[in-house]
Symmetry: C4
Subunit: 244 residues, 4 copies
């Protein structure tokens, strides 16, 4: 085995090279990355190498051989697959690693994200739903020093930025959201999809699932006339049709 | 194998420790417990031990090693996984075991439950649908002494309680529904999800599936203008658009 | 192996005892027979024995051991599982075998069937859709003597009967539809589901899939304002919103 | 093994005979080819033989033995399965091979295609969505000489032709779209489904997935009042209900 291939071959299903492939397949069946859309990057917590899904590959058929591996210090590719180009998302993934201390980033073309970007203005908002408690608040518990989640009574706010012709052109707006929304773990790109990150791939996956659930729910609420961030007990007066 | 691990290791796919994992995976793919939401508890009919899914775990990846086991008499944990905390639902599960003689409890973040909780007031109601016959009526057949199901002409009523910041705060309202709805096998928590129980895990699973089917159908009926509990033959006069 | 068990044990995946289980599992994941709803019966073309799914079983977990086997001549059970009762649908299945020369019958609680039964009156109608060509017309090709399918320009009509408290009470209305719709291969039961039959289980499965596809499409058309049986080119004038 | 069977037996999962079966099964579970609808044809890049799915087969159960193989020069069948007839789509597939230099053609009964054909006139249009970038523009990069994809700011246009009683009657309209839309990789057939082709089966699959995603999105946009080809920033003024 070449020294490059050692980087991607492991019997451990939780090795980044294996996990990216498993999750891309799972996300494909969620309609999140059909037609080669979307992607995942994971930082190996042992080596600090970045593992990156390539551009243009069918996400449900991806294998570890298809992955790029990058050194986090030099930003040089330690391994490049012969058949593929690096994903155009790579600069965005690097920004999340460098500015948000991310351990993994998930990018999908979720239709829920695209629809929310058409309905909402500059910010997706939903409040008072149990699933919000899966999302980090950005605050730290003063006693345990652990990161605190949003509470049921909080409003989840996710910034929405405009899409550009090429993904690397999103970088300025991405950096701006890092400043304007220092606690967000996600950015919606209008008419495009969503980027979600977390300190580990497990966390990023949980955040992404919870946010997609909340976007799906927000669309259903909107279609029934209920503002997704309306107060508890206010739903009925917004309903387009009388409560049964 | 330690004495604690004996509790969770079995070759029998119907052993509670295995069944909780199998069903959590199945429910994950139903969008009922993504983002670590939801949970299941089963009472082992042989030992009367309670098996409980932990807090914060990805439900489709759960293994028997992740489970808590509790003694039904002392309410002490016979086994605690190192990595996880007990679910905040535990007091609610215990209430169902103790007050409703449950053999298993299923908790999901089903979007159908959340949407029904936004549209309905204090009670979910649906009538005159065949699937209602899967739900117990609370009555006992005077001849066979077996529990009787609802009939096609009955109205299924499920109480809806308000959500709180923490799940253990739901306990008072849960006890109140036990009094006000002595025959119910489920409680919807507004903007949160649903709890469903039964004398066995098989029954609880069937009740949960049937109720979710009925909530999904009720939402579709509501969206077309038909009150889900309207009389047979009354549908057409409620339709928003003329019958084709 | 007992003589009764010989009836249900076969290595052939197309043996009726195996095929009923495979299809029930597949239909469960289509949301057609959750909560123990629905069922399948197949006539073994070699023995003329009827294989019948039992009442109350979780359809995705069913095994050949759970099946009833009935002699087509004597209508006596050649095999009865210890744990289950015969399905209440059995008299309806027998009527399809005896009056329609069916080789298999599929019964589902498809929500598309229930919704169509709420929107349509006594007859489901859809016209001018390619998938209609999967449904038999009841006519025979004068040259090849083979059964002919509906054409693209035909209107598929499926009778809708009222539900009763118990499934065996549907028998009179079922017989009436056999007379009024001599060419139909399906009957919708209002607020309940659908029965579909065919000369073989393969045909019954294809008819059921095509009809469910057409009911799903009809609901979408209805929701956009288009009568599902409207003429080709008439769609646009029915649209609730202007064509984009 | 007979010389005919050599054509369809291979251990390579990417051999056309294996790939057609794998993809038909995958597409069946997408609701794209239930009830025997739809089909796939692949040209073997090594032999130039056409592999064709037969008529009337259950697409999720298809095996290599069910396939037709045709010589691209003589258009004679090198292999015909005993049980099946050639698909009525065969002349349409041949037209795509001969006039569009296709390497593979996918035909589905996608409900998204049928609904779009009911809502749109002679052309499906969607603009300014990231997923559009998966579709070829028909232009060639002047430097790299590689085919260029549509850009985010482009409008994807897919012609819609009228359905006929028999699929071979579509041939004239198909040829007309080849002239009127020289760059299209797909044709929607009203009230029927869609044909999508590409230089390889991998490309055809990616195009088909991306187009289905875009048709699904267009229907959702239309239902909310947003013209799928409206300008960026114009969405809000089209919304049926106010932005939340």
């Amino acid at each position: 085995m070449s020294s490059q291939d050692v980087l991607i071959h492991s019997d451990d299903p939780c090795h980044p090279a294996n996990l990216i492939c498993t999750l891309c397949k799972q996300f494909f069946h969620n309609n999140w990355c059909t037609g080669t859309g979307g992607g995942i990057s994971i930082k190996d917590p042992n080596t600090n190498y970045y593992y990156l899904a390539p551009s243009g590959v069918q996400k449900e058929k991806m294998t570890p051989e298809d992955l790029f591996v990058m050194d986090a210090q030099t930003l040089e590719y330690l391994r490049s697959p012969k058949l593929y180009k690096p994903s155009a998302c790579t600069p965005l993934f690097l920004a999340c690693y460098q500015k948000k201390d991310a351990g993994a980033i998930i990018h999908t073309h979720s239709q829920n994200a695209v629809i929310c970007s058409l309905v909402f203005g500059d910010e997706f908002r939903i409040a008072n739903i149990e699933q919000i408690k899966a999302i980090p608040s950005g605050k730290v518990d003063p006693v345990t020093k652990k990161p605190m989640a949003l509470s049921f009574f909080d409003t989840l706010k996710i910034p929405i930025i405009e899409n550009m012709a090429h993904e690397d052109e999103l970088i300025d707006d991405l950096h701006k959201t890092f400043k304007d929304y220092p606690d967000t773990c996600a950015v919606i790109v209008r008419r495009h999809g969503i980027f979600v990150w977390g300190p580990t791939i497990d966390k990023a996956k949980i955040f992404n699932e919870a946010i997609d659930y909340l976007m799906e729910l927000a669309i259903k609420m909107y279609q029934m006339g209920i503002p997704p961030d309306c107060g508890i007990g206010e739903e009925k007066k917004h309903l387009k049709m009388a409560s049964p």
